[in-house]
Every structure is written in C-alpha cells, then in structure tokens.
Symmetry: C2
Subunit: 439 residues, 2 copies
C-alpha cells in the first residue's frame, strides 16, 4: 500500500486554523498543507531553523518544541527538527512524519489549547530568509514528459526525435548538487563554448540562449542500502515531499556539449528550488489514477503495480511567470508564460522513478533530489521551457508591454508556481520558486 | 605558476626514513610519497582517523599530533587531521598542505628526534580497515582518452564514432556520489533493462556484460564560489591529490539506456576508490610537458597556458589485474590484463578539467571527485576496459589457467595499480584499488 494515499483527520476540509491567514482560500498554506522549510529572520545571521508554513506565517519549530510538552515518541521525532536538521527528521521514516503532521495539525487547529503557547513562535514569512530545505547529497534529473522529449528531440535530432528506449526506460541522468540554490538567489549568466551554425571552430563567450525548465523535485525521505533495490510497492514510502525546481539551461552550450554523455556545463551552473517542501502526506487528496495513453506500451513488471495504476499520479497545476526588468521598473505584474499539469506531462510516476533509480543497486539517501524533467503538457502552450515556446528561438514571444523574448535577458525573473485542487479538498500550493538572471 | 610542480626538500631522493620498510625501493610509500587515508584498526569500531602511509606502516595522525609539540601555524593546520576530517584539512589550502607535508617529512626522516615519540603511533597497514578518504559531495567523470572514446564510439555509433565536439570540449558528465565505495568492498552485479539484438521489447535481469574502467580520480582540495570560474593558471592549486578509480560499468544496460542523456544505472551501482590519496605535491617529480599530437587542434585560450604546456602532464603508469575465483582458490597470482600511462591516454590535463568544469560558474567543493575517464593508451593492449580488450565481447581473452573472459564473472576480483618513476626521483605508487564481483 501507498502510505501517502491515505486520508486522515489532517486532510479534513472543515479544519480551520487559529492563524487567520491560513483560512483564506487563496493561501498556498492552509492547515491541510503544513510544508517544511529551513529559514531564519532575514539579516540576523541566526542559526537556520526548520519552520512550517501556516497562512502567511511560519512556525519556528525550535521555539514551538520548547513551548510545549511532548510524549516520548513525539520528543524523539521532533529532536532533529529542533536542531534545524530536516535530513535527520526525514531519515526517521513515515511513522514519525505522520506523528509530527498530526501533532502540528492539532496544535494549529482553531480551538487548540496550544494557541497561547505557540502564537509567540510565529514569524511572518515576509521577514524570513531561506536556505535550501535540506542537504542534497545527490541530484538526479529525469526526463519524464513525453511531450517535452518529443519537441526537444525534433530540434536536436530532426531525423531521429524519439529514441526507442524512451517508452521503456525512465530516462534520467545525474545533475550537480553543489550548485542548487534556493528561490530568491540571483543566477549569473554562464559562459562557455558554443558552435554557431556554419562554424567549424567553437566560440567562447556568454550564453546567448539561456532558458528555464519547469520541473518538480521529489525529496527522498528514507534511503536504501547499496545493492538493495526499492520495489514499486515500497517506493512511495521512501519519498518525503515535493518542491518546485527550475533547472536553468544554456541551450547553445548544451547543443554543442551534450553528445555522447549528456548535458554538463549547460545545466550545472545553477538549479533553483522552492523553499517549502510540500509533504507527500499533504498531497494525498490530489492522488489520481495513472494510466498510459492508448497505444503506449505498459511498463515492465518491475515498474508496474495495481497501487501505482490506482493512485500513482498527483494532480499539481504548474505555472511559469516572467517579470522582465522593464516590467519590474514599471510595477507591472509578472506575465504567465505557460501552464501545465503533472499528470498530463509525466510518462512515469514518482514511485516508478524511485524504483528504477535503485533497481541496479544504486543507493538513495535522505535529502536526495529527483527532478521530474521539464513538465511540458500535450499542447504547445503548455510547454515548460522557452526553447519549446519559441520553437527553438524561431518564434519570439511578445509580452504585454511589447517586449519580445526568445530566450532570457539579463534582469529577467522567472517564477514557478504550483497549486493543487480537488473536489472535497482544500486547495493548497507550493509558494514560489523564483530566480533572476544577472550578467 | 603551478605550486604542485615545485620540487623541495621533501622530494630529495637521498631522503630515507627511520621506518625501515619505507626505504625498500619496491614500496609504494617511500618518505617522498606520504599519502593520506581514513582508517581504523580493523574490527574495532574505533572512530575513523586520518593516517599517512610510510612503507608498510600507517602513521595515526591523531596520536602523532598528541605526541609532538607544534607551532601555532602547525597546530591550526593539523587540527582537522586530528579530528579525522580530511575535507576540512583540504579546505585550508596549499600553504597548509605544504606545511604539514614538510613537517611529516622531517618527522619521519632517518635521524629525526621525533622517532621515539612517533614510533608508537605507527600501525601496520595490514591491520587497518579503510573508509573513503573524504566526503565526496559531487563526482564528475570525464572522458579524456581519445583512444578510449574512439574505440567506444566505433562500437556504439559505427557510422559516427568521433563526434566533432570531442577535440574542443573536455567531455564529462555527473556521476553518482552516494555509491562510491573504498577498495576491498564487494560489488554486487547490477540488474536492469537491456535490449538483446533483434528484440523490440527490452528484457529485465542481471547484467551480462559487466566491466571495469581504469581511471584516475582527482580530489578537489579548495573549491570556488558559484559563478566564479577558476582560470587555467589557478586550476592546479585547487587540486589536492590523486586516487585510483574503477568506474564499474554494465555495458548491456548502458547501450540501451544511454541516449540521449548519458549513462545512468549502468554506472551508478558502484565506483571503487583506492584508499590512499597521493598528493599533487608528491607527484611534482613526475610532471611532464603536455603536448597535443601533430594535427590535433590547440585548445581554446581559456584552456591553454604556458605552464600547462610545460608541466601539465603527470607520468603515472597504470595497470589492471584480474584474479578469478579459480585463480584465488588455486593460489595463482593475479594476471595483468593491460597497462597504460596517463600522458599517453589523456587528451586533457588535470588543470584543464578543473577550469572547464568551472567556466560556466559551477562551484567545486573540497572533496569533490573528478574522474579522468578510462585511460586507454594508443595501442589495443593498452585498453582500460574489457569492452575494448575483448572487442565488444567478440574476442574472448584467455587467462593463464585456461579460463576465458569477455566480461566479468561472479567472483572475479579486479585490481588497479599505479606507479610513478622518473630519472633522479624515488619511485612511488598508489597502493591498490580492488573490488570483487558478487552475484
């Protein structure tokens, strides 16, 4: 069974919080969400703390844990959170994750006797600065959108766009962990080698085709021992949560360098994560059946299970927004470039990615990041990158203020957003994953 | 200037140690070497300690540091070594590396007044068990042998073996850090998807074409800030040392999965490192000019410098040995499968790999590992993998006991060795990088 598909009292749509902003239907962070981040009061140099979002506030867990009494089991589960170590908390496993979620839900619910003790432990999110939510030992990026892979394949290999392995192997590769940054940090335009059309000798200089990629990132909660694969039935239980991920890409560098071993410098200068880890538990109401489109082959048995077919998908609506320097100066709101939904884009489920990653014996560790790859939907306007939206740079996009873009200009800020809605459930979101390009 | 190309008193070929076994010309660990490892007495569960090899002994640095008096500068440089943290020592930079090397050389030299205090701090290497020498945050594997790339290219892309970027871009990709293991650990044969010839639907099962790869691993000493490339003139100073690296490879899984994003499960089940980090300082006597063969293009300016041409190469002789289960049972010695030399194999120098890796802004961190890729030399018998030696599995190798191999069988043990010799220098070596395949 998938422990993350179970509904319990924490998902009750009638549940309201004594933190008033959490009860506004537009908030990303109602009491049914309760995502984790690592933060501190901006500019203070205080130690990083684990915080939980509630409305427009964040509950400082170190303070909250001191302010309340706990059972022995609660105290053990909470200890790593009190130390600011999300990795150690995740390593404790789903039973502890659930214990803490249930405790937080009760403590933050309207009418909770804990209100008086916990109210002083709230900090406005606007007063915080964030670090990455956890230490990421290894970052793997998959390539799960058939639509993205087809469009990109047509551009990079016109005579051979879709390779025969795509429908059988969850294609992925190792990314760079050291250059992951958290939302809000500027990204410097990379420099590198490119081969302009018609040239035989490459040129060296700043990237001219800088792009974003709209992705989700799965955060591994519990790892596996080297040499011991995780079966499809066990895979969901190893995942802790989901973040937004912008896998910035230098398309001109990528085109020249990527064969035969895959993208390298074109991707490793920076990838941006959203600060809030939305837990798999919070996403339970948005689980959906996972079915392959007609005519597509069924996965090999090691990647297939009844539970994965029944509830392997998670319905997350995704949006990319752009704010140019001119828009920012004029106070104009960011423009939405595209929207897509995870189930429309992903050819493989989260569980299938975990199982495939470990089937040869590779060991995952708490905090590892698995990117979904660019989540482009089936129609051209649902594309998750400028490379696709501008048809390889041939069709500039005109923005509401008259500016045009094929790729990103210096000063452009890209914001990713995600939001879940389902009948009978309270909608929730992921906050934002934002980054600005600097020269 | 390259600080690692300078000779000083620690390289004096007349230098001898009061540890007698260090003066045997056949040892890998004369007093001119002084490599670092992380080890403890086998089976004790003691904390891991940093040790330095001298002959067949290892100096326990925590004990040695307690046993001697130090200047303030020495004490600061030694503190992380006393705590068993090679990463923190490496992060302190070349001046501290040199200070400790000079101190160790004086203390272990014949006639040193420190002999009486340090002799009790020696442990026989045979009594030790090893961990990885440092925490590897990110592992990058390059592809620097033109000969390996050409042979593999012919097999994987008969119509297009050498891609046009190879002679301009130091091709590399991100590897998996979590599954790095230290010499002596068994490696489990991976399972995965393969597409047998003539099939349209892939099969799932144990790898049938399991291979080793003979590589060197460069250990990053000091990192760089994200967005701030390391120039070719500064690159050598960022490197701390060199290890042997066996990048185990599942060729049948690789052939099916590797397009378009590069090898993934075929490589990430395990890679084996030798325990001893031979420092760049110890390798100074073996520096050699780095020249491109006639007719090859010169590197772009960002990868070129007079110092790199003058002394960018390091002459390390490399050997692969195989011991089958039958040979081990019969007490037969391992057989040498191939030998090559780094300068014959590498199309790019260590400094060029560092500079290229960071040129787009990617940040390196202390302890990062840069693999050279398979170091196959120009002739077929110098190939660093079975894939090459057996011509893609078509030409089995006959071993002295009559056994044959195309790829590795369960029970096979692969041992990599490296050794440096130069006129006027004392020869030194890398110890061994060994791993046995289990079902």
């Amino acid at each position: 069974m998938n422990p993350h598909a179970q509904l319990d009292a924490t998902h009750d749509p009638a549940l309201r919080s004594w933190v008033a902003s959490a009860n506004d239907g537009a908030t990303d962070f109602p009491i049914q969400n309760l995502p984790y981040a690592r933060a501190r009061r901006a500019g203070t140099g205080e130690p990083w703390r684990i915080v939980v979002a509630i409305g427009d506030q964040a509950l400082d867990l170190a303070a909250a844990i001191r302010a309340a009494e706990h059972t022995e089991a609660q105290a053990a589960a909470l200890a790593p959170l009190a130390c600011g170590d999300l990795n150690a908390f995740m390593a404790r496993g789903p039973a502890d994750w659930q214990l803490v979620r249930a405790s937080l839900s009760r403590a933050l619910a309207a009418g909770s006797p804990a209100e008086a003790a916990l109210a002083p432990c709230l900090v406005a999110q606007s007063a915080l600065e964030f670090s990455l939510p956890c230490r990421v030992g290894d970052y793997t990026d998959f390539y799960t959108s058939l639509h993205h892979a087809t469009t990109i394949g047509r551009m990079f290999r016109p005579d051979n766009p879709m390779l025969p392995n795509y429908r059988w192997v969850p294609i992925g590769y190792h990314g760079r962990a050291s250059s992951l940054v958290v939302s809000g940090q500027d990204v410097r335009r990379p420099t590198g080698q490119t081969l302009p059309p018609g040239h035989e000798v490459p040129q060296f200089g700043p990237c001219k085709r800088l792009d974003y990629e709209l992705e989700l990132g799965l955060i591994v909660g519990t790892g596996n021992a080297q040499g011991e694969p995780v079966s499809i039935g066990q895979a969901d239980a190893h995942l802790f949560g989901v973040v937004l991920l912008n896998d910035w890409s230098a398309r001109d560098i990528q085109a020249w360098e990527y064969q035969p071993l895959g993208p390298f410098l074109s991707k490793n200068f920076a990838s941006t994560l959203s600060p809030w880890v939305v837990t798999m538990a919070a996403l339970a109401p948005f689980r959906a059946p996972f079915t392959r489109p007609e005519g597509e082959p069924q996965p090999l048995p090691y990647l297939d299970s009844t539970a994965n077919r029944a509830a392997g998908a998670i319905d997350i609506a995704l949006h990319v927004q752009l704010e140019t320097a001119a828009m920012a100066s004029a106070g104009a709101p960011p423009v939405t470039l595209s929207s897509s939904r995870w189930p429309d884009a992903g050819y493989w489920t989260a569980a299938q990615l975990v199982t495939h990653h470990t089937v040869g014996g590779c060991n995952l560790q708490p905090g590892d990041l698995l990117g979904t790859g660019t989540l482009s939907g089936p129609t051209p306007d649902q594309a998750g990158s400028l490379l696709e939206l501008s048809m390889g740079g041939k069709a500039p996009i005109t923005l509401p203020n008259g500016e045009q873009r094929t790729f990103l200009a210096d000063g452009d800020r890209v914001v990713l957003r995600g939001r879940c809605s389902a009948p009978g459930a309270v909608s929730l979101g992921f906050g934002e994953c934002s980054g600005r390009i600097v020269a």
